[in-house]
Amino acid sequence: MDDFLRIGGRDLSCRLFLGTGKFTSYDLIPQVIRESGSQLVTVALRRMDFDTPQENMVNYLPPGVILMTNTSGARNAAEAVRIARLARAAGCGDWVKIEVVPDHKYLLPDNCETIKATKTLAAEGFVVLPYMSPDLVAAKNLVEAGAAAVMPLGSPIGSNRGLKTKELVRILIEEINLPIIVDAGIGSPSEAAEAMEMGCAAVLVNTAIATARDPVAMARAFALAVEAGRGAYKAGLGPVRTYAEASSPLTGFLHDSAEDKGR
C-alpha cells in the first residue's frame, strides 16, 4: 500500500530528509541522495565571496529533488523572513525551514520569533517547516500560523546525541495534527528508527551522515532504519509489560500440573 507523506501539495514516498552541510566534498552529495532515496534536501544561503568564488552546489543536486532553504544565520523573525524571500528570488522555490537561533552554544531556536516568521511566510505562500524546541503550546501556535509541518529538535544541532527530547516529541505527535519531523540531533540509524516507531512523519538528518566514515553507506543505513521504523509504527508495536509473559506454553511438559500451580 502506498504510504506517502503529504506536505505542501507534494506526496513524498521517502521519509528521510537530508541536510547537505559538512560533507567533505560536493561530489558526495548526489551519491548520498541516491543511496538514501531522499526527495528533499536542505540548503543554506550565504553572501557570495567575490575573492574566492565557490562552486554552486545546486549543480550537484539531482533534478526533481525538493530544495528547502534554511534560514540559518537569522537571529529573529525579520531576518528569517528576509532570508526566505531571498531564497525564493534565488530560485530555491517555496519550501523554507525556519531556523531562528540567537544562541550560539547549543543552537537552540527561539520559538516565539519562529512563530512570527512562520505566520508571515505562510501568508506569502511559502511551505513553512519550522525547526523548534519541542513545546506543545509553541507547536499549536505554529499550526495556527500556517506551518506545513513541525520540526522539533531531538538534541542540539550537530551533536549526534539522539532523541533526548523523546517525551516532548511524543506529546507533539499525540496532540498536533501536522506531520512531526525530528530535525537535529539524530546520530544513528537506530535513533531514526526510534523516532519513526513513535509516529514521527519523517526525520531530517545531516551531521550523522556527513560525518560518518563512509557517508554514502551511512545514508543507505539511515534509509533502511527510517523504513523499518515507519513499518513498525504502521504495524503497531506490541504492549510493554513490567513482568514476563511466556512466549511458549509453561504447562504440559516435564513438570506435572500440580507443580506448575505451585509456582
Binding site: G19, T20, G21, K22, F23, Y26, I29, T42, V43, A44, L45, R46, R47, M48, D49, F50, P53, Q54, N56, M57, V58, L67, T69, N70, S72, R82, R85, L86, A87, A89, A90, G91, C92, I157, G158, L204, N206, T207
Partner: protein, 64 residues
C-alpha cells in the same frame, strides 16, 4: 557603495546586471538584495547603483 558588507568603488556607473557581469557572476544562480529589499532579476538591468547603496549578492550553499 557597500557590497556584501565591503566598501566597493565602481569605476563607472553601472546597473546591478552589469555589476554582476563585471564580477563574472552567473546570474541564474544568485539573488540580489538592494537596500534591504530583494529585487526581481528582471529589474536588475533597470537599477543603477549609486554611492550610498547597500547590495547583497547571495548564493545557495550546502547547509543542514
Amino acid at each position: 557603495m557597500t557590497v556584501n558588507g565591503k566598501e566597493t568603488n565602481l569605476e563607472r556607473e553601472m546597473s546591478i546586471a552589469e555589476f554582476l557581469r563585471f564580477k563574472g557572476i552567473v546570474e541564474a544562480l544568485v539573488a540580489v538584495e538592494y537596500n534591504l529589499n530583494w529585487v526581481r532579476r528582471e529589474e536588475w538591468p533597470n537599477i543603477t547603483l549609486k554611492e550610498d547603496d547597500r547590495v547583497e549578492v547571495i548564493q545557495i550553499m550546502a547547509g543542514g
